[in-house]
Symmetry: D2
Subunit: 336 residues, 4 copies
Amino acid sequence: MNPIAFPAGKPIDFAAIGRLCIDLNANEINRPMEETMTFTKYVGGSPANITIGMARLGMKTSFIGKIADDQMGRFIIHYLDKNGIDASGVVTDRTGAVTGLAFTEIKSPTDCSILMYRDNAADLLLTAAEVSEEIIAGTKVLLISGTALAQSPSREAVFQSLQYARKHGAVIAFDLDYRPYTWVSPEETAVYYNLAAEWCDIILGTREEFDMMERFEHNPERSDQVTAAKWFNHAAGIVIIKHGKEGSIAYTPDGASHRAESYPAKVVKTFGAGDSYAAGFLYGIMQGWDIKRSMSFGSAAASIVISSHSCSDAMPGADQVQDYILRCERGEITAS
Amino acid sequence: MNPIAFPAGKPIDFAAIGRLCIDLNANEINRPMEETMTFTKYVGGSPANITIGMARLGMKTSFIGKIADDQMGRFIIHYLDKNGIDASGVVTDRTGAVTGLAFTEIKSPTDCSILMYRDNAADLLLTAAEVSEEIIAGTKVLLISGTALAQSPSREAVFQSLQYARKHGAVIAFDLDYRPYTWVSPEETAVYYNLAAEWCDIILGTREEFDMMERFEHNPERSDQVTAAKWFNHAAGIVIIKHGKEGSIAYTPDGASHRAESYPAKVVKTFGAGDSYAAGFLYGIMQGWDIKRSMSFGSAAASIVISSHSCSDAMPGADQVQDYILRCERGEITAS
Amino acid sequence: MNPIAFPAGKPIDFAAIGRLCIDLNANEINRPMEETMTFTKYVGGSPANITIGMARLGMKTSFIGKIADDQMGRFIIHYLDKNGIDASGVVTDRTGAVTGLAFTEIKSPTDCSILMYRDNAADLLLTAAEVSEEIIAGTKVLLISGTALAQSPSREAVFQSLQYARKHGAVIAFDLDYRPYTWVSPEETAVYYNLAAEWCDIILGTREEFDMMERFEHNPERSDQVTAAKWFNHAAGIVIIKHGKEGSIAYTPDGASHRAESYPAKVVKTFGAGDSYAAGFLYGIMQGWDIKRSMSFGSAAASIVISSHSCSDAMPGADQVQDYILRCERGEITAS
Amino acid sequence: MNPIAFPAGKPIDFAAIGRLCIDLNANEINRPMEETMTFTKYVGGSPANITIGMARLGMKTSFIGKIADDQMGRFIIHYLDKNGIDASGVVTDRTGAVTGLAFTEIKSPTDCSILMYRDNAADLLLTAAEVSEEIIAGTKVLLISGTALAQSPSREAVFQSLQYARKHGAVIAFDLDYRPYTWVSPEETAVYYNLAAEWCDIILGTREEFDMMERFEHNPERSDQVTAAKWFNHAAGIVIIKHGKEGSIAYTPDGASHRAESYPAKVVKTFGAGDSYAAGFLYGIMQGWDIKRSMSFGSAAASIVISSHSCSDAMPGADQVQDYILRCERGEITAS
């Protein structure tokens, strides 16, 4: 059974708040970045990727964020427009901030890393006063991303968005997305992640991210059950804990745990797996599917993205995911 | 009836977290500071003053904070010791931060101002990891002060102290104590004040402070009832809203409102009135007195402090407050 | 006559101090950056470009600077090595600083702009203590670049390099290279540019850059003669003032002024013109050529670079420049 | 012979640029500050003290600096006015900066220390554009103080004042006044001190201060002769090196060295000795006295100040110094 009830009568299916940035993906892969010479530009950032994924799956989507007043910022807006994502909640910085960058390095399909430019990034300058209450009042789901909690004033903007979501009855999903380099200390991170997570209906993160959040608590065996139970005492209805290669487990307040099918892929790189999974899963439960089917759909979406060069631009449509599942079931796709 | 139930079997009556600083009070009063030549040094800071007030009233008290590694910091520790306040939760900064200063100017009993030194103040450097869970586990009441929310890492330390207080069942009192100069914007202030206030049993502030907290809400008539009702939907049992000369009103979840007696005073200055009132009021309700009697006791304590040169050092004992009330009732004390 | 005497018996011909960064040049040209999708990576930064230019011209070169501890930094070191530039004076940052970036946009051959990433750039973190006295003691020429004066501690590193150059008798060339976005104010810029320029033998800049330096002085007609005379009262032997399309003029203490030939080019973009000119000119006077011939050689080198996609990588060898001059003289190259 | 020629026909004898702050001197002396309860407020800051000293000695004086827009700032202006010091060159900060503070602790006459408040101090916010060229054009002597070089934009203001002084022929005196806590590193300090000192006619400092300036040089025996000779290669005519209890030595370009008489004093504290010495010495050489007599006059002024509670307010008049010398010569004053 699906423990999340989505509000009816809202014009927007899915809105996200947070990071909009640029991925610069090395065109020459399977080598260190010292030896790559050209890069291709894509829209990036975890909440942006998930929103693009939801748009591709046919949902009505909206974004709340802040872009730099430069060519990169305008490129992002054009891309959102082109994908049918409402960008009326994206404001433009006027202080000379820049667009965050992520240069990706693909040494091998399983040895990928990112070189980040996050100093003076426009997305972290979104203020609480710039958050559109109207968008949040009109959406069924609000997704927040942990990175947007990393610095003021973006941190306050996220908390204000949670106030609006609670006031207007939006389901809140929290993609932990913990990036240590934007934070002062793990203690600071733990404090704000815990404050935010109390209000959230769906929480998705890795075991390591939940460990970080339990820094001031006692869970010495790193038990998923202990972790999930904590959040069911607050607002949560689904807690998904990702265990890397061992797969993800979804916990529900009834004590059940759920595991997804996984699908083979000809892996190009691992980037984007989590974002496409999140989009696929959220899409599924919004369709009224059970948790297991939603997770499988997310897994298939992830397999498609990791077989491609980009994250955002490779986000599949629903037919494409269904087709991928069928082809896997027919044995037409096997692991690389 | 008293809507707050205090936990039994705790070794500490009252602990506070936040600002410890130095007041430098002009000795030559009733003139602008340009013309004052000498100053007397006292321990200051709203939560420090309230804790000193509680200690003078005979409560077992403890403080959680951070001091500079200098003569001012050591003076503060000596003063806490001398007043029987447990300072085991006060850590010493090692980064070269300074002790916050407040130079007071008393142009007339009703025209007082403060010149603050708050740059690089040690008290705002308390971290979440430095907050003693043991002290909070052992106290009946934890008092937080809004100023400690103004900057990181002190902001995180306060939120962590709230986590511990909730976990261990301490009653939480929130003295709003809003000082605009330490904040980036009113929006930022509103976000964190609202986050913290949700967890608090007793909230004390001026009408203007509550207005600031309602910046993202709709209370156009600045109604106390609207304000109080909001917090009764969360943890609050008492909300006290101060209306300056028109006096303070305490609201309770049963819909009642309560006003205190006020007592005459030969006013020297207005500083310290709020802190002594808070100490007196909290002392009263911890004795099991009803709200009205507790408020009156707080008012009498305030009248004593504003008749004196200092804030902290003038905090009265319980007998002194009782005696003041009796003398007022006998007409022996009249307003200046 | 050449007013500069170069010291003999030094193992290095040319050393530069300052910015080492990455250019990301749009592959799709003649359109706004919003519409470009791929970028090619080159080493960049004015003093880096000039040094690469000098190395290509056959000079023994060395660089003093600071790189990020990342793939971009290592790419820069590899490129210097590959071009025979001694990088023993390039230290690696350990604070998490990044490599400065310059995204170039070529809307048309004459409408080019740059999107800079200069926040937390490693090159500006070079300290005075990290400047190699040994390299400066061993070089005939030290080139400093104005951008390195923009922030501490790089500013101090440049002044210390000037102390060493004066002590050991190196000829000092100053490429003004004023980039307003890295400076707090034009007044700040003027102060440090003037301090540095007093010690310099050769000063190259645009009329606008010299105007900025005369902010606290009186030169209402923006007279080149007034400007040059000021520096001849200090250490300067050559002052080159660039007047955009009207060409450059070199002034010497004997009262003479010198203009160069200019050469046609099939212009791709204007970036890199100044750096290749500087390399060509300095090479010429180090060969003992007269000023006019040196300027012409610089102009031809510039024409080659602006006909190419990159700045650094297009720096020509001496034969290539001579050949270009001959072909222009034969009418084989005409303007685009 | 006096190696300094002062310009004639200037309306101001002496102008200083730099720090204006507040001393808060403990009234209860011979104990640690933890035990002092009251403080008396004085104008302070080394260049301010020297200027007050010059004014008391009958010189026409002017000050260039920046004060906070608060009661402390206004107190400083009133005090300058009262002492006949032209404050037309003192601008008022509008950014919310504070007045620097120095709490003095006198544990014993020879064990004195200072607790400084220098964060966000207004004096360090003076900009190059705010420096009055008119005042510097009209003064015989400009005194700069090393502390004003510690941070931007005050650092630029000092360098701009040096440009004006050189342009208009003012004699420049440099009081090294090195306070490590306002500097990022000793390397940074050395770079700017050396840049400034090149332009100065008179340099006064302790052996330790000159050692700091020689951080990048070779003077292993810490020889005064080596130090002085370096500056005589630039603009200096007098270099005074203070050796603590062993006294001060003045060096001149003719190879001579000069030592002063010292005078007994009933020492209250050591603060202010250097400032009163500087004022007395500069007064003497401006009278045309020889170096030895000028140094003795400075020593006597210093003995008067260290016998008093304040620094600035105790600065003596010329008759008072002469009288002190006579009384010492008659044996009427002996050391405490």
